[in-house]
């Protein structure tokens, strides 16, 4: 669920973080050989549509559960949430606790019987049975679009990250990984995807668990690590240095007492209810993994096993993020400061939050172990892609192609369509990945796109399952109105009627010659550019001989002719003074003639004659990268709310709108006859007799155990 920041991180630096040895490469090559071999082997077991799309509906509880959780545990997830833990401390673990476990248990105990007994091929398929074609078409088309987009984004991210970490060619990364996925999914369908997901789960643990073990030893034990984190947080995160980085709930009393800028209501109802239930209960990529179990009890127990496994993930995700605050040190012993993407030092003098996991890998994993860690990373990316492609093939064939284009073909025809759509899905993903080279801003939209659909989908399905009076018209209008409200809220918080201006920034071109004038404390006090080019964004240009001063117009270029032009260290914007960022990715120092790089903010810059200047003035009415605090206040009920809080509150309101509209419209429209709702709605569904069930296999028992453990973990780390 978190890829945008990673991509930004991947773009900014050239030095490799990790160096692989021959044994590491051998481990990676063996992985590719094994997954391809599994694909070819499983081809003979995917001879019918049911085999290809539903893996023959014969998965055991453990395989279903491992696949269910593995489909979610992509490398973007592990790297992204490690970065979150580095940025937000223990709060990052909520994604694996209240942000997942209640929803997974609800899926297992309440929703799974309906999904399973109605024998639907997909979540949109359930919508068709319950509400009719309208909601199914919206869900089917939006899902197919999103899955290939996300799959393409995943490929792009993998290529970028492997390029950053290992220096690998991006084209090779994209084509080798996507063709491997195409081969094994096209041959073996869902069965192949599930096999590789289970394999990936073991690889991720084998490749990642050593990092927290060694890291905690290195930090001097758990208590010492926590004490060091609180101490280092003041240096690493000075703006929130007094916040408690080591607790889950103590600091959620208000928006400004925690590093995430969210309060307990947003966390519980936004993340814990709307987003979490939307994702885990109705995202078909997840649900598909467990509705293919061999019987209902296995489907339920598999989901609960998934919940247990999910609660373990913080060991290899949250703890490494926390360790980054404690054990990543500079050569002089001071804490290494990783920065957000927006920081002028990002990718130039400082690594970013998203580098925390690779940095720890490089710190602790020697030859062999590093290969295993990188293989786990590649496996995570590839199984994520395979999951998306197999879900795309199913929904495309059964919820778009079959109802809209060819209703009456035989099973072999749909099987062939499934294989072709897998291949075409990969090709569209590759096209998406290449499009992102040129339009990486798409990612900002793509990330929120997922939330536009899954939360309304959950609202519509929840009422459909629990309330037999919910009508097809109610479901359709509730679903559609919540999608529109989600989009409207998102657009509203990114709209700036008075205009939004990006932070003023000066970029020195490669090869520019500079002189750094330092103050008494050794920090850079003034930068003199002797020659080269500079790009200015929203930096006012003072008057110079023969030309009046300006704030740029739109775009203007000139060469400094005589005298020197002094650019300010800060500019006055509507909300007060803003420091000018100065980025110098590769410059030459005038005194030593050595190449250097730096990124600073709030330092005056002097341009000597001969320096070429391009000045651009940017003001936007709509900016997805920024959010309007005045508008956000209406959604999150506080001006102090940060973007994460606004997203969670938006999800909550979307859920409320969906449920309210579905309820109100249903009151005034005609419900379906009860005979048509059999096996779809609570009260009209008979559970199948699956024979005697020993106590230790009862889903409700294990759901209760997991719930108790969840409560205990939250109390321990309160």
């Amino acid at each position: 669920m978190t890829f945008t920041p990673l991509l930004a991180a991947a773009g900014g630096t050239s030095a490799r973080l990790l160096q692989l040895s021959s044994v590491d490469l051998m481990i990676i090559v063996i992985y590719f050989a094994v997954v391809l071999g599994i694909g070819f082997y499983l081809r003979k077991f995917a001879s019918t549509g049911e085999d290809f799309f539903m893996a023959g509906r014969k998965m055991t509880a453990w395989i279903a559960g491992l696949s269910f959780i593995s489909a979610n545990l992509s490398s973007l997830e592990t790297m992204g949430w490690s970065a979150m833990a580095y940025q937000y401390g223990m709060l990052g673990a909520h994604a694996y606790l209240i942000g997942a476990i209640p929803a997974i248990l609800f899926l297992a105990v309440v929703m799974m019987p309906f999904y399973y007994i109605c024998k639907t091929h997909s979540v949109p398929g359930y919508l068709k049975l319950r509400y009719g074609e309208g909601p199914r078409c919206i869900a089917g088309i939006s899902f197919t679009f999103m899955t290939v987009m996300v799959s393409g984004a995943s490929m792009f991210a993998m290529a970028k990250i492997l390029n950053l970490l290992l220096g690998w060619n991006m084209d090779v990364s994209i084509w080798v990984s996507s063709l491997t996925v195409a081969i094994y999914v096209t041959l073996g369908g869902l069965l192949s995807a599930v096999f590789n997901e289970v394999l990936q789960y073991f690889l991720i643990w084998a490749g990642s668990l050593l990092i927290p073990i060694l890291g905690i030893i290195h930090a001097g034990g758990w208590n010492k690590m926590m004490a060091t984190i609180q101490q280092n947080a003041k240096v690493i995160h000075p703006t929130v240095g007094n916040a408690d980085f080591t607790s889950l709930w103590r600091n959620l009393g208000s928006f400004d007492t925690n590093p995430m800028g969210i309060d307990w209501f947003g966390m519980v109802f936004g993340l814990g209810l709307a987003v979490s239930f939307g994702y885990w209960c109705t995202d078909f990529l997840q649900v598909q993994r467990v509705i293919v179990a061999k019987d209902l009890r296995s489907a339920q127990n598999g989901t609960i096993i998934g919940a247990m496994l999910k609660m373990l993930v913080p060991l290899i995700v949250t703890i490494p993020g926390l360790l980054g605050l404690a054990v990543l040190l500079n050569p002089d012993g001071s804490p290494m400061v990783l920065v957000p993407e927006s920081d002028p030092r990002a990718g130039i003098t400082n690594r970013t939050f998203n580098d925390v996991l690779p940095l720890l890998m490089g710190q602790y994993l020697g030859p062999g172990l590093l290969g295993l860690g990188v293989t786990a990373m590649i496996a995570g990316f590839m199984s994520g892609m395979a999951g998306n492609i197999s879900a795309f093939a199913t929904v495309w064939t059964h919820d778009v192609y079959r109802p809209l284009l060819n209703r009456n073909a035989d099973d072999q025809h749909y099987l062939k369509m499934g294989r072709w759509s897998s291949l075409i899905g990969v090709l569209i993903s590759i096209a998406t990945a290449y499009a992102l080279f040129f339009f990486s801003n798409i990612l900002e939209y793509l990330q929120v796109l997922v939330f536009f659909f899954i939360v309304p989908l959950f609202g519509a399905i929840l009422l459909g399952m629990l309330w037999k009076r919910a009508t097809p018209a109610g479901g359709f209008w509730g679903f559609l109105s919540a999608i529109l409200v989600s989009i409207a809220m998102w657009a509203y918080v990114h709209t700036f009627p008075d205009g939004w201006r990006p932070q003023p920034k000066i970029t020195l071109s490669s090869g520019a010659v500079v002189n750094l004038e330092k103050g008494a404390d050794g920090t850079v006090a003034r930068i003199v550019v002797e020659s080269g080019k500079v790009d200015l964004v929203n930096v006012p240009v003072p008057a110079r001989p023969g030309q009046p001063g300006s704030v740029g117009g739109s775009v203007s270029s000139f060469t400094v002719k005589e005298g020197a032009v002094v650019l300010p260290a800060a500019t006055m914007e509507k909300n007060g003074e803003v420091k000018v960022q100065v980025l110098a990715p590769e410059v030459v120092l005038a005194d030593s003639k050595q190449t250097s790089k730096f990124g600073v903010a709030g330092v005056a810059l002097v341009l000597k004659p001969g320096v070429q200047v391009q000045s651009t003035e940017i003001t936007r009415k709509f900016a997805p990268a920024a959010f309007n605090k005045q508008h956000a206040k209406l959604i999150a009920m506080s001006e102090k709310a940060q973007p994460m809080a606004v997203n969670m509150y938006s999800a909550w309101w979307s859920f409320v709108v969906c449920v309210s509209v579905t309820f109100l419209v249903s009151l005034f429209t005609k419900p379906k006859p009860e005979a048509e709702l059999k096996n779809l709605v609570m009260g009209l569904t008979t559970l199948p007799d699956e024979g005697p069930c020993p106590w230790h296999k009862k889903p409700i028992l294990w759901a209760a155990v997991v719930a108790v453990v969840l409560v205990a973990v939250n109390i321990i780390f309160w």
């Binding site: 040895s21 044994v23 051998m26 481990i27 063996i30 992985y31 094994v34 599994i38 082997y41 499983l42 003979k44 077991f45 893996a55 023959g56 014969k58 998965m59 055991t60 395989i63 069965l191 096999f195 289970v198 394999l199 073991f202 690889l203 084998a206 050593l210 073990i213 060694l214 030893i217 290195h218 054990v327 490089g362 710190q363 602790y364 994993l365 020697g366 030859p367 062999g368 172990l369 290969g371 295993l372």
Partner: protein, 79 residues
């Protein structure tokens, strides 16, 4: 007609873990005998050795438990 029994996924996992374990142990022994110039943190714990051995043991347990038999008597497929 008898249907071929599917090799359990656990067998593939066990094989892969065992092979990886052997490679990592081998690399660890080589590193122990020829200490690198730039050592990773906590190198003295030789994590590659004991982690590799753990992977080999785990892998072999899975291989032994789930090694495939040729065909089922009743043609039933299992995953």
């Amino acid at each position: 007609m008898e249907q071929e029994k599917q090799i359990p996924i656990w067998f593939f996992i066990g094989t892969l873990l065992a092979v990886y374990g052997v490679l990592i142990v081998g690399s660890g022994i080589y590193g122990w005998l020829n200490p690198p110039e730039h050592k990773v943190a906590l190198w003295e714990y030789h994590a590659d050795l004991w982690w590799g051995i753990l992977l080999v043991i785990l892998g072999l347990v899975y291989v032994a438990k789930y090694r495939p038999s040729r065909k089922t008597a009743d043609g039933e497929k299992k995953t």
